[in-house]
Structures are given as structure tokens and as C-alpha cells.
């Protein structure tokens, strides 16, 4: 296949694939929001000073850190019914939300651990160190964006599954190009955020007084 042909093909499918990548972002952001809310609650409980509650929170954190997200994805996909009935009306449970829920488990563990440290810093009035939580959180968002591609295996129409659709539709000889093109989306999304967060982290570390690596 000539390179112009490939370029034309990728261009034709760009709206479709870009739509898929938007789903990756949506799934990841929702996972981060859910995970942050529950993770923050766990971190707050750990700092609450009440021993039984702090212990329970620690146990839950450990648990969320050690559940494989991929397995949990399948677990939720089977466990949560695709449709449910509420006051006589049938609603579909969106499959992307299942993916978000599965990914949020990892986020809960992360936020619980890191926010715990950040809150401790804030108590000691070490605000710059506490603010380090923000770049860490954003870096973790990028990791979740990477992981969101696994949602394709339960049928979320995100970029990897749409790549498979494209490949199935136009033929396998394009596989390398389509996947490489998809990787570009991730790179374009991640590079600027990563760079910005690297800068933020450097500045904060300078304020804390730790020499930047």
C-alpha cells in the first residue's frame, strides 16, 4: 500500500478514531473523579485519629491497591446487569461506566495514599510539599488514560476497539499503521501534560528546598 493511500485511509477514519479517543478521556476522567472522591474519604478517615476507622480505611486502601484492574473489569462487566428496571422503565447501564468504575479502584488506592501524605504536609504547614499532590495526580491520570485502552475488551467503543474495527473493515495489512496512528493520539495528549507537570513539580520541589533531580 502506498503511503499516500495509507494517509488517505487514516484521514478518512480520523473522526471515528478521534471519537474513540474522546471516550478514553471520558472513561479516565470519570474514573479519576470517582476514585478521588472515595480515595479522599479514605485518606481523611486515616487522618481522623480514630483508630478503628483509620485501620478499616487502611485495610480498604490495601485492598483497592491489590485488585488487578483488568480482572476487575471483567468482574464488573458480568456482575452489573446491562439493563435494569426502575419504576417501570428500562434503563441501560452504560458499558463505559463499568470501565470507569473498574479503573477507579486503582485510583482510590493511589489517592488514599498520596492525599494522606499531602494532608500530613499541610498539617505541618508545608504547603508546597502538599501541592505536589497535583502533579502526581495528573501523572496518574495519564497512567489511567493508558489503562483505559483495556476497556476495549468489554466492548467500550474507545480508540483501541475502534482501531480493531477499522482493521477488520479495511484489511490487516494496515494494522501497523492504524495502531501507530492510535499511539500518536496518546503521545500528543500525554506529552504536553507530562511536560507541564514536570515543570510544576520542579518548581514546587525548589520551593520545598529539595534539589530537583
Amino acid at each position: 500500500m502506498a503511503s499516500t493511500e495509507i494517509a488517505a485511509l487514516l484521514l478518512t477514519w480520523t473522526p471515528f478514531l478521534a471519537g474513540g479517543f474522546a471516550w478514553n478521556i471520558v472513561v479516565s476522567l470519570v474514573a479519576m473523579v470517582i476514585g478521588t472522591i472515595f480515595g479522599a474519604a479514605l485518606a481523611w478517615l486515616r487522618l481522623s485519629g480514630r483508630t478503628p476507622l483509620a485501620h478499616a480505611s487502611l485495610v480498604v486502601t490495601e485492598l483497592t491497591r491489590n485488585i488487578p484492574t483488568f480482572v476487575f473489569l471483567f468482574y464488573l462487566a458480568f456482575l452489573i446487569p446491562t439493563e435494569f428496571e426502575l419504576t417501570g422503565q428500562i434503563y441501560a447501564f452504560p458499558v463505559w461506566l463499568k470501565a470507569s468504575l473498574a479503573l477507579s479502584v486503582a485510583v482510590i488506592g493511589f489517592v488514599s495514599d498520596n492525599l494522606f501524605v499531602a494532608l500530613q504536609h499541610r498539617k505541618r504547614r508545608n504547603h508546597a510539599a502538599a501541592l505536589l499532590f497535583i502533579p502526581s495526580w495528573t501523572t496518574y491520570l495519564l497512567i489511567i488514560v493508558m489503562a483505559s485502552s483495556t476497556a476495549s475488551v468489554i466492548g467500550v467503543g474507545e480508540i483501541v476497539s475502534r482501531c480493531n474495527i477499522v482493521i477488520a473493515a479495511v484489511g490487516d495489512e494496515t494494522m501497523l499503521w492504524v495502531y501507530t496512528y492510535a499511539i500518536c493520539y496518546f503521545l500528543v495528549f500525554c506529552f504536553p501534560l507530562n511536560w507541564a507537570m514536570g515543570c510544576a513539580r520542579k518548581r514546587l520541589l525548589a520551593r520545598v528546598g529539595v534539589p530537583a533531580p
Binding site: F70, A77, I165
Partner: protein, 541 residues
């Protein structure tokens, strides 16, 4: 006859019926002996197990078993023809004492009749195929068109297990003709009926090259009231004797039936001895056979001990069928999967450590451009989803190997490892350069995803029952068929596939890995079909 004497006659008849009925209820064995005749229901349409000879008499493998039963009971024999639909009903009515009519043992049938253990024969699913191309394993049929007869219990599980592209036909004749015309490479059917079919000169050159799967034992049936009765005990003792002496194998030979593995295995099992010299399969105090001598699928929790007991109890009490607890086969698969997970993790961690350390050393070596190069490759690695990397490394086809591209397990494993090494690399180069505490939590995710890769090995059965993507792709396909992009072509292939009346294909369980959707995806036999769930969600069927 006036009305009064008529009424008396009716009363008398009713009384006799009640008495006879009660007597039958009291003990069927006494009734048989008093009557001097054993009435056995056998098939007349299932050669060579039960059929009519040129004089119209019922003969075959099963009538021979019936004759042997009667001989041992010391009574004469009367055979009655029954069919698949009325055999259990005849039994319940009391019209026959015993049914020996190709009746497969199953928990559902045990609710309505007494099925004698052990079974005297067994059937399973196998294929008839022409001599070429030669089939050596079930995996050779992956993605191929296979004819099947509607209604067979094994159609769906066999299609799912071996990714057969089933072409369902209404009757055996249609399926046979389709096979003859080359519309499918093989015909999936009951192995015992196939034996009768092969005896037909027209299909003499066909073969059954593959071992039978999904074996279900055939049981002699008594009425539900006979559970635990003397008659049941006697018959089950006789069948056990038949297995021990190899008499059933002789009978099989006599009727020209292809030797069945089941009978050989049963002969070994029933003549196996304990270390103390006694037979392994002797009745326990409660009159039952030991669990080791019974059919695994039909056991109940109170009949086994240990971990199987727990698993079956869970299934009976809650309906949760966790087969990895009570099914040794599934358990082995699961443990194998766990073992591969561990291997993968070890390989990932050590591989990425080595590559990461080398990268860090190279970055610090001071060579021009080295530092930037390492940083760039680490960043690239960090920002590429592992799943995409796996697809790229795993499925990328080398054009000159078009037909013979086959992966064995070891190569597959290496490829997984490679992908994850790449993935870990980015997380190893960085910690070497960073010291902040929060880093620790970040590096944890990849290990988890390594566990995910092991989900790609046997053990995870999951599926494409998620219609979400399908709907999505349908909508898109609709749009693109109008706009004339490549998607329309794909939809067309899917449609032709469905229009063949392949009803199983219409639901999401059948996998679209057939030659229609992924013409060149040929993975080798050792590799489990279920291992690539993502493939299942391709938008076909």
C-alpha cells in the same frame, strides 16, 4: 348386561387395578418374578443399538443387554419398542419394567426416573469428515465451516470451545448432503449415530478422525419409585459385572460398533484394585458406589468429600457454580493460568530491571545524544498503552509467511514478556532518576497490568456478550455504507454470514474469528481461543 352389574364390574376392575398398582409399588422385582417376564423398552430406530431385523423382531446391542438382564433374573423377556419422546412416560405408566433406550444420564432426568449407575455405554460429540484434508485435532477445525444438526445439546458448547463456524441444518439428511456437497469440511454429530451412518455404503469413505468430546453416559432407567429398590441394586450390580468382565466390549464388537474409549476406561476403573487387594468399586455401607466410580457431572455434594463437597454444596445452596472448586479439569486450568501469571510477572520485573538499568547506565555514560535518546525512548514507552503494544507485537504479520504463520506457546509468552518489558522500561528508567515518595504508588499499576496479561491465558472465560460495541459499530457502519468507505464491505461480509441461517451466529456468543472477519489470524493449537477477549468484540455477527 344391566346397569347394576355393569357398575359392579367397573368397581371390581378399579379394585383390581388398585391392588395391582399397590403390588407394583411394593416391589417391582416381586412382580417381575411372579409374572415370569421382564418387559424392557428398547429403541427400534437406532441401529445398531436397537433396530428391527428382517422378521420385524427387535434386535441390537440394547436388546442383547435386556436378554442378559432377563437371563440373570431367571425370567423370560418381552421387548417393547419405545421412542425418545415416550420412553420415560412408558416407564412411569408401568407399561415397561426397564428402559434401555440410548438414554443419556443427566441431573434433570434423574428428577423423573431412576437412572442406574454405572452407565452401560456413552455418547459424545464427534465429526464425520472426508479422508482429505486430514484432521488431527479439534483445533484444525478452528474457524472452519462445520455442519451440525439443529437441537443437539453440544452444538453451542462445541462451537464456543473450538470456534467452529457452525452451519445448522434441520435434519440429519440435510447435514449429510451438505457434507457430501462440500458445503462444510465436517459434520458435528452424536458419535453413536455416526457409527450407524458410516455403516451405510454411500458414506463408506468418510471417517471419524477425532476423539469424542462432551461424553454423556447412557443409563438403564427404572421408574422414579424404584430409587434404592432391590431391582435397582441388582441391575446396577449386573452392569458393574458387565464392565468388569469386558462383556460389554464383546457385545460392542459383536454389533460392529467402533470401540469406545468409555467402555475401555470403565473396564479399567471397575476392575481396579485397592492396595489391600479388594476391588476399588464396591458398594459402600449406604448401598452407593464410591464417588471415584461415579460420573463426575452427576455427583451431589453429599456424595463426595473434601474440596469437591464444598464446591458442590455452594452450587446447590446458592446456584453459584464455581467449577474451579469441584471440577478437577477446570481447577487445573485455573492453576496453570495462575502459574503463567507468576512467570509473566517474574519475567516482566527482571526484564524491565535489566533494560531499565542499562538505560540508566547509557544515559549517564556521557556519550553525545545518549541521554536524550534514552529519555525519549522512555517517554515514548511511558505514553503508549500496553494493550496497543501487545497488539502490535503479537499480531503484526510478516507478509512472506502468509500461510504458515503460526505461533507456539513459547513464542507467545516471549512476546507478552517483550511487550511488558517495554512497558516497564519507562517506569524503571524514571525511578532510577527520581527520588520522590509518591513515585512508589505510580509504579504499582504496571505490575497489576502484568496480572492482566496473564488474564490472557486460559482461565478467563469472558465474552463478547457486550453489545455496546456492536451497536456502536452498527451505527457507524450504517453511516459508512452510505458514504462508501471500507466499512460497507465488512458489513456485507457479516450480513452474508448471518443470512446463512446460522442462528447461533446471530447472538453474541459466537466468535467472529472465522475466516470472514479475520482471514489470516491463524494461531496454533496450543493457544486458547478465549485468550484474546478483544478479538471477540470485533463487530461481526
Amino acid at each position: 348386561m344391566d346397569s347394576r352389574s355393569g357398575f359392579r364390574a367397573v368397581c371390581l376392575l378399579v379394585l383390581i387395578a388398585i391392588l395391582v398398582g399397590r403390588e407394583a409399588q411394593a416391589d417391582r422385582l416381586d412382580l417381575i418374578q411372579k409374572r415370569g417376564t421382564l418387559i424392557v423398552g428398547v429403541k427400534s430406530d437406532y441401529p445398531p443399538f436397537g433396530m428391527r431385523d428382517t422378521h420385524g423382531r427387535l434386535v441390537g446391542f440394547e436388546p442383547d443387554l435386556a436378554a442378559e438382564l432377563a437371563r440373570r433374573l431367571g425370567v423370560s423377556l418381552q421387548l417393547l419398542a419405545v421412542t425418545s419422546t415416550n420412553r420415560l412416560q412408558r416407564l412411569e405408566e408401568g407399561a415397561v419394567d426397564v428402559v434401555i433406550a440410548t438414554l443419556g444420564d443427566s441431573p434433570q432426568r434423574r428428577q423423573i426416573a431412576t437412572l442406574v449407575e454405572p452407565g452401560y455405554y456413552a455418547s459424545g460429540a464427534t465429526v464425520v469428515a472426508p479422508p482429505t484434508p486430514r484432521l488431527s485435532s479439534w483445533m484444525d477445525l478452528r474457524g472452519k465451516k462445520v455442519c451440525a444438526t439443529q437441537g443437539a445439546y453440544f452444538n453451542r458448547p462445541m462451537a464456543q470451545r473450538f470456534l467452529l463456524d457452525l452451519q445448522i441444518f434441520n435434519g440429519t439428511r440435510d447435514a449429510r448432503l451438505a457434507l457430501r456437497d462440500g458445503r462444510c469440511v465436517a459434520w458435528l454429530y452424536d458419535d453413536t449415530s455416526i457409527a450407524g451412518l458410516l455403516a451405510d455404503p454411500e458414506s463408506a469413505n468418510y471417517q471419524t478422525p477425532l476423539p469424542s468430546m462432551m461424553i454423556s453416559p447412557w443409563a438403564i432407567a427404572l421408574s422414579a419409585k424404584e430409587q434404592g429398590s432391590r431391582l435397582e441394586q441388582m441391575i446396577s450390580g449386573m452392569v458393574a459385572d458387565w464392565h468388569r468382565s469386558g462383556w460389554l466390549i464383546e457385545m460392542e464388537k459383536r454389533w460392529g460398533i467402533k470401540p469406545s474409549h468409555y467402555l475401555l476406561e470403565m473396564r479399567d476403573l471397575w476392575s481396579r484394585r485397592n492396595p489391600d487387594g479388594g476391588l476399588l468399586c464396591t458398594r459402600l455401607d449406604n448401598g452407593q458406589w464410591p464417588a471415584a466410580c461415579r460420573h463426575k457431572l452427576l455427583l451431589r455434594s453429599d456424595e463426595v468429600g473434601g474440596i469437591e463437597h464444598l464446591g458442590l454444596l455452594l452450587k446447590e445452596q446458592t446456584g453459584l457454580n464455581v467449577t474451579i472448586i469441584h471440577d478437577a479439569y477446570d481447577r487445573t486450568l485455573f492453576l496453570q493460568g495462575l502459574w503463567i501469571t507468576l512467570q509473566l510477572m517474574a519475567a516482566c520485573i527482571s526484564g524491565s530491571l535489566i533494560v531499565g538499568c542499562l538505560g540508566a547506565l547509557a544515559a549517564e555514560s556521557g556519550l553525545p545524544g545518549m541521554r536524550a535518546g534514552v529519555r525519549l525512548s522512555a517517554a515514548l514507552g511511558r505514553m503508549t498503552p500496553p494493550l496497543l503494544l501487545i497488539y502490535l507485537v503479537f499480531f503484526r504479520r510478516r507478509p512472506h509467511h502468509r500461510q504458515s504463520f503460526r505461533l507456539d506457546f513459547r513464542r507467545r509468552f516471549d512476546r507478552h514478556r517483550l511487550s511488558f518489558d517495554l512497558y516497564r522500561l519507562r517506569h524503571r528508567v524514571r525511578p532510577a532518576r527520581s527520588s520522590l515518595r509518591t513515585q512508589g504508588a505510580e509504579t504499582r499499576l504496571p505490575a497489576r497490568l502484568a496480572g492482566a496479561a496473564a488474564g490472557a491465558t486460559p482461565g478467563l472465560r469472558s465474552g463478547s456478550r457486550f453489545a455496546g460495541e456492536r451497536r456502536e459499530s452498527d451505527r457507524y457502519g450504517e453511516r459508512h455504507r452510505r458514504t462508501g468507505t471500507g466499512f460497507g464491505r465488512h458489513r456485507h461480509r457479516c450480513r452474508t454470514r448471518q443470512s446463512r441461517g446460522d442462528d447461533e451466529c446471530a447472538d453474541d456468543h459466537l466468535l467472529p474469528v472465522g475466516d470472514h472477519c479475520r482471514p489470516d489470524l491463524q494461531l496454533s493449537g496450543t493457544e486458547d481461543s478465549e485468550s484474546w477477549p478483544a478479538l471477540k468484540s470485533l463487530p461481526c455477527c
